[in-house]
Assembly symmetry: C2
Homo-oligomer: 341 residues x 2
């Protein structure tokens, strides 16, 4: 015994009104008598009326849904971002449609098409590690749908974006290691096709150069996972070229490095100091606790969503695309505390 939802027509029939009047009454149209408004409101809540957003979406060629394309939901940072997105969207009467690209280019393209087919009001994207083209993202713009990047942007596309000041934060983190007396500092970098990977590496190199320390290529490699970091440390150790600090482009990488260092009998931070990036939930409780950069994922998601909603509401003519920077905070914990600061 399925109950079909109550529609405008039901209310209209009930009150001997036309559907259009009911529609107007419900959206508080000025040209409707207070009396009918009251009646309609009352009947609506009595019959438990809920507007059919699908029908409205069809009519207005736009829904109240925000599309999100995110590389991997299970990353703590990204789950924070999603939470921020959902929170703002909820408060503004929007819903969130989530797609994960699983770091695959193909899938990301698919996700875009899915969201476009759903007539979402706007799209938030953090591109996958694999993404090498951007025609799919241009399709979004072509349809006049607002697009905002968060965390991982595509430099070729000039659209609103919220990103971390990766370069500065990485520079700061490296400088911190220098201040601790480290001079042989390695960097386990993220994928260099991602801007965040490049920027963090640049920040690292910048800090070294500022300190007048030449960069050693053997110490600056792409190692983007727990396992790769582990292997890289073992590799460096075997070649008798162990650094006295490692700055990793994310926390998991840092933990992989730490595990390898421990297994090799090296003390942290005594022999090798470690700094990560992201402030994952485990950085605080790892042993020793991990120095890292807090990226403020929740705020990033919230801000990106607010920017998107602004675009959605402005409908076209608006300010030129802007880039908001969320400053990462270096959190100094035990993996890099050698001398008192």
């Amino acid at each position: 015994m399925k109950t079909t939802p109550v529609t405008l027509k039901d209310i209209a029939r009930y009150l001997n009104l036309s559907p259009s009047s009911v529609s107007r009454a419900l959206k508080d149209h000025p040209e409707i008598s207070l009396k009918t408004k009251m009646q309609v409101m009352e009947v609506a809540s009595k019959l438990n009326y809920r507007p059919n957003v699908v029908a409205r979406g069809l009519k207005k060629r736009q829904t109240d849904t925000i599309g999100v394309i995110i590389p991997e939901i299970v990353h703590y940072f990204f789950s924070q971002v999603i939470s921020g997105i959902e929170e703002v969207a909820y408060n503004e009467g929007y819903t969130v449609m989530i797609c994960q690209s699983n770091e695959k280019y193909d899938r990301e393209i698919n996700n875009v098409h899915t969201l476009l087919a759903h007539q979402v009001a706007g799209i938030l994207v953090s591109v996958s590690k694999e993404t090498s083209g951007f025609e799919h993202l241009q399709e979004i713009k072509k349809e006049g749908i607002p697009l905002v990047f968060f965390d991982r942007a595509v430099p070729e596309l000039i659209v609103d974006q919220v990103i971390n000041n990766n370069r500065e934060a990485a520079c700061q983190a490296t400088r911190h290691l220098l201040e601790q007396g480290c001079v042989r500092i390695a960097h386990f970098a993220g994928p260099q096709n991602l801007m965040i990977g490049r920027e963090r590496k640049e920040g690292y190199l910048q800090a070294l150069s500022d300190a007048g320390i030449p960069a050693e290529t053997a110490w600056c490699t792409v190692a983007d996972s727990f396992e790769k970091a582990y292997e890289e440390v073992v590799h460096l150790h075997r070649s008798g070229n162990i650094p006295d600090a490692v700055f990793c482009s994310n926390d998991l990488t840092a933990l992989g490095a730490m595990k390898a260092l421990r297994n090799l009998g090296l003390r942290i931070p005594g022999d090798v100091a470690v700094v990560g990036f992201s402030n994952g939930i485990f950085s605080e409780i790892s042993d020793p606790s991990l120095s890292t950069v807090d990226q403020h994922g929740y705020e990033m998601g919230a801000l990106a969503t607010r920017m998107l909603l602004n675009r959605i509401r402005q409908e076209g003519e608006g300010a030129p695309p802007s880039t908001k920077i969320i400053a990462g905070d270096l959190i100094i914990r035990d993996t890099s505390r050698i001398r008192p600061v």
Copy 2:
């Protein structure tokens, strides 16, 4: 210069066909000539046609979207579940609409109404800690929309559900502590209005009773957060009533307890052994590494989604509601390794 999406009509005009023929051709209707089908397919891909799912949704009174109501996205376990949901949905051509209740009853009710207004094809729910009624969930059933619980179910509602064997897993975890020689075992329980909270407590009591050990009320309290666990340990210590083991209803609680124990100068597991619940990402890398129960979040999300899709496709008449149990795996790590097993 917005481009409006290509519609069936555009293709029809292009080929001098009627929209209905195009529609049929695209869904591989048997009564359409192969030739037209080919033509339509070709033009469709050439014009980059993508069906408007909103219109289809209105027509069929049902969309290809699955609604998810989840307490908090940032919990590692829940993010795993979402990932599993999204993966299966994606492979089956469905999209996922996410709502988080933030553990609030009001908000959960709101979420239900939002999803119903969106004509979702089915809904996956894990109820909030606050949820005390279930009229809102019954509304879902009333509209004939399939509903599947995951992790946290409402016992009063007989619907499909995927849950952990919390009682058995808790029992096993407690038994493990007994086998390690612990006899004064405390339990920091979850909220008792949630079935999972009650069941884990029951498992704990069961194990004690099986071992002929009377339960001590002072050792079995509701402590459901890092902070509360911390305080509870301090409290027990102050009253000179420290147990020799603590079984916690989740990992964060366990970590709070561990922190307090460390600060009190008690060794883990030497003085007090600890076991958590959930296998959060940090349990493996905490110090000492935390024994816990792996709840297989990803599999839970994937299975729940498959069950939901089955219901959606069967349309009404189907098997009676079933309950799938996902067995939690006790993972023994260092916080409970006292004697060789």
